[in-house]
């Protein structure tokens, strides 16, 4: 996430991930540092940091 908001802040970035507790796949798309889409819809996304 640090990369998405700093070094890759001017890029479109896809992050393929998975739920840590199961085997569900998660895909999150960031466009110029902002969250553009997420699959599945139930994905919980926390914004934060100092």
């Amino acid at each position: 996430m640090l990369l998405v908001s700093s070094k890759l802040a001017n890029e479109k970035v896809i992050v393929d991930d998975s739920s840590p507790e199961s085997t569900k796949r998660i895909r999150v798309v960031f466009d110029r540092g902002k969250l553009a889409s997420q699959e599945p819809d139930s994905t919980v996304f926390f914004l934060g940091g100092g």
Binding site: L3, K12, V13, V15, D17, T23, R25
Partner: protein, 189 residues
């Protein structure tokens, strides 16, 4: 010490040396495979990179095959001195594909919860891949000695070796793959 007493020790020593020679010869890489290793060693650590072999093979245009991936992965497993990333995060996360990691996690979760191993169709549904892909993934996990055949486990008939049931602080079966549009693909820790 008498020769009779020394014999078992000498035999054991001989077996160890033979095994080491066999292991070493198995990990002789082709030029293409070495190209993948060179790419990874240069990539690892940059932007938190823990890039895996499959991604590197695409990056240097080496055709994907389980056999090639296993040869490169075995080399990484046998050579932690190549890079700090191997020593810090473990070789497993660097050599497995996301599908293989998810298959392993499904088995780890069942075993941790003292449930029978899932069947092939159940795994295919859980990981969202074909049953053929599950069979390939299981074979790869067995070759890496992460799983071993165990009829008592039920389902697919594999059990996860103890070391891999609790993988923290290694990354083993975790993946966070980053694709920059029109650019680099890599995995992060």
């Amino acid at each position: 010490m008498r020769l009779k007493q020394l014999l078992p020790i000498l035999t054991a020593l001989l077996v160890c040396v033979s095994t080491a020679i066999a292991a070493s010869s198995q990990t002789q890489l082709s030029a293409q495979e070495q190209k993948v290793i060179d790419y990874l060693v240069k990539d690892w650590g940059k932007d938190y990179s823990v890039t895996s072999v499959d991604i590197a093979m695409d990056a240097v245009k080496v055709a994907q095959s389980d056999e090639t991936r296993f040869r490169i992965g075995s080399y990484i497993k046998a050579h932690p001195e190549l890079h700090e990333v191997i020593r810090r995060w473990g070789w497993v996360t660097l050599v497995l594909t996301p599908d293989e990691k998810l298959i392993a996690r499904a088995l780890v979760n069942a075993q941790r919860d003292s449930k029978p191993s899932p069947s092939v169709p159940e795994l295919a549904k859980a990981v969202a891949v074909s049953e053929a892909d599950i069979m390939r993934g299981l074979a790869m996990l067995e070759r890496y000695e992460i799983l071993e055949k165990d009829r008592q486990s039920g389902g697919v008939g594999y059990k996860v070796l103890q070391r891999y049931l609790k993988w923290e602080p290694r990354l083993d079966f975790v993946f966070h793959n980053v694709s920059v549009e029109g650019g680099r693909k890599f995995s992060v820790n």
